[in-house]
């Protein structure tokens, strides 16, 4: 026993080294399952505060661009108002719901932390559960999709950016509804790939790609339908499979993200409950 202790004392730094490496790697691998991160998270108090203060300073330098984007959005919304449209009952219809019940509401939030060049990018927002944000909500901006909320604290929330290796969502080509799975391969913050497109039909460079409502069992993106994703740049057959893949230029400029909208799907819980009942009964 004595020699055992002597052994430990003699190689104490090696043991200390192994212990600390083990702790670090434990953090790394539990982090991969992002739901299980407990405290290593920029939503926690101190780091959130530092990023928030910095964001407040930075806001002043970006006021011009923010004003411009708000003006553009205002004009777009104004164009959609009833007064701006000719009253022609035959062409008026509701995209969301024929009964006129609101399906989605939007919570505006400011971006206080953002990265675009990591292989896994996250965005920190200055609003949290106090403002009604919940996990799994989709996040969009005036020009396109942004990501999905993965962690919420009372005043902050962390969003898994579209520029994250684990981000998935179903999207479609606007003109012919050919759907596929969106994924980011980590090389350029302006480009994204859409894989597993089985019937692309006639495609053209410049076609719009939009979000679709997720199918029930593999419901992954909580975006409203018809949100812009990007513009088709290139397409071709995926080698070794019958599927096509599309290279798409993102419409969201992640480098200049200042304000976003968190999407609250009002009937989400009801919908999930009934979906789960069916899935569970099936199994």
């Amino acid at each position: 026993m004595r020699s055992f202790f002597l052994f430990i004392i003699r190689y104490n730094t090696v043991f200390l080294f192994l212990l600390l490496e083990f702790i670090s790697l434990y953090f790394v691998f539990t982090y991969n399952n992002y739901h299980r991160t407990f405290f290593i998270n920029s939503a926690n108090g101190l780091t959130g505060n530092v990023l928030n203060t910095y964001g407040n300073f930075q806001d002043y330098f970006a006021l011009r661009e923010v004003n411009d984007s708000l003006l553009i959005e205002n004009s777009r919304l104004r164009a959609q108002m009833a007064e701006s449209n000719k009253t022609d009952t035959s062409s008026v219809y509701s995209i969301k719901d024929s009964l006129g019940i609101q399906l989605y509401s939007y919570i505006p939030a400011g971006v206080i932390g953002n990265s675009i060049t990591e292989p896994n990018n996250f965005i920190t927002l200055n609003k949290g559960s106090n403002h009604g944000i919940k996990q799994e909500m989709g996040v969009i901006t005036s020009s396109g999709i942004v990501g999905r909320v993965v962690k919420v604290s009372p005043n902050y929330s962390v969003v898994m950016s579209v520029l994250h290796s684990q981000f998935r969502s179903r999207v479609a080509v606007k003109k012919n509804n050919a759907t596929g799975r969106l994924m980011w391969e980590g090389k350029s913050p302006t480009m994204i790939s859409i894989v597993e497109v089985s019937e692309p039909g006639q495609l053209q460079k410049g076609d719009s790609i939009i979000t679709v409502e997720g199918s029930s069992a593999v419901r992954q993106g909580s975006f409203p339908p018809n949100i812009m994703v990007g513009i088709l740049e290139e397409f071709g057959k995926d080698p070794g499979s019958n599927y096509y893949r599309l290279d798409v230029k993102l419409s969201t400029n992640f480098n200049a993200l200042k304000y976003v909208y968190v999407v609250n799907e009002i009937f989400r819980e009801e919908r999930q409950t009934i979906e789960n009942e069916v899935i569970n009964a099936d199994n």
Binding site: F29, L51, E118, P119
Partner: protein, 173 residues
């Protein structure tokens, strides 16, 4: 004197972390260039720092960056490793005259060449481990190597520039 020195070191670490998080991480130059300069704290620790202290210090430095960057423990893992091999590296890079009267790696006392080589080696190892852990799921070796090499070069240059600024201030005193 010793205590003041250590307080200055920790202030330096706080500055490096803030510079890292608020300036370097916001640059977003390219997916290939990710400079990390906070390992400078580990590079500049005194030569006779005992190993049992060196390792937790490095762990602490790495973890504080991890907290800001939401990277789990990747920085901590890389930092603990460079702290572990630092004493051997110091022995390996011993100048012909030895380390007489020098108690910590410094640009002014050991020269630009020595300091650059030492920093380059440590940063290269740190970046290799960090980027390897980071792109675990990717098998694009060319991309990884280019990223490690480009980032190492930029980080080392930045550290040398910081070391110049720091040593000038000391001389003036």
């Amino acid at each position: 004197m010793q205590i003041i020195n250590w307080i200055l070191r920790f202030l330096g670490l706080a500055f490096l972390i803030l510079f890292q998080v608020l300036v370097l991480n916001k640059l977003n130059v390219s997916t290939y260039i990710h400079p990390y300069i906070y390992p400078m704290f580990i590079i500049l620790l005194p030569f006779e720092t005992p190993k049992w202290l060196l390792l937790p210090l490095a762990f602490f430095a790495g973890l504080s960056i991890d907290l800001f960057m939401v990277t789990g423990g990747m920085h901590a893992a890389a930092c603990v490793f460079i702290a572990f091999i630092r004493p051997s590296l110091i022995k390996f890079y011993t100048p012909i005259t030895g380390y007489e009267n020098v108690n910590a790696p410094s640009l002014s006392e050991l020269g630009v060449v020595w300091f650059s080589l030492f920093a380059l080696t440590i940063i290269f190892i740190h970046h290799s481990i960090y980027f390897l852990l980071q792109v675990f799921w990717m098998n694009d070796i060319g991309y990884l190597l280019l990223k490690i090499i480009l980032s190492t070069i930029i980080s080392t240059l930045l550290i040398i520039i910081f070391a110049f600024l720091f040593s000038k201030r000391k001389v003036r005193k």
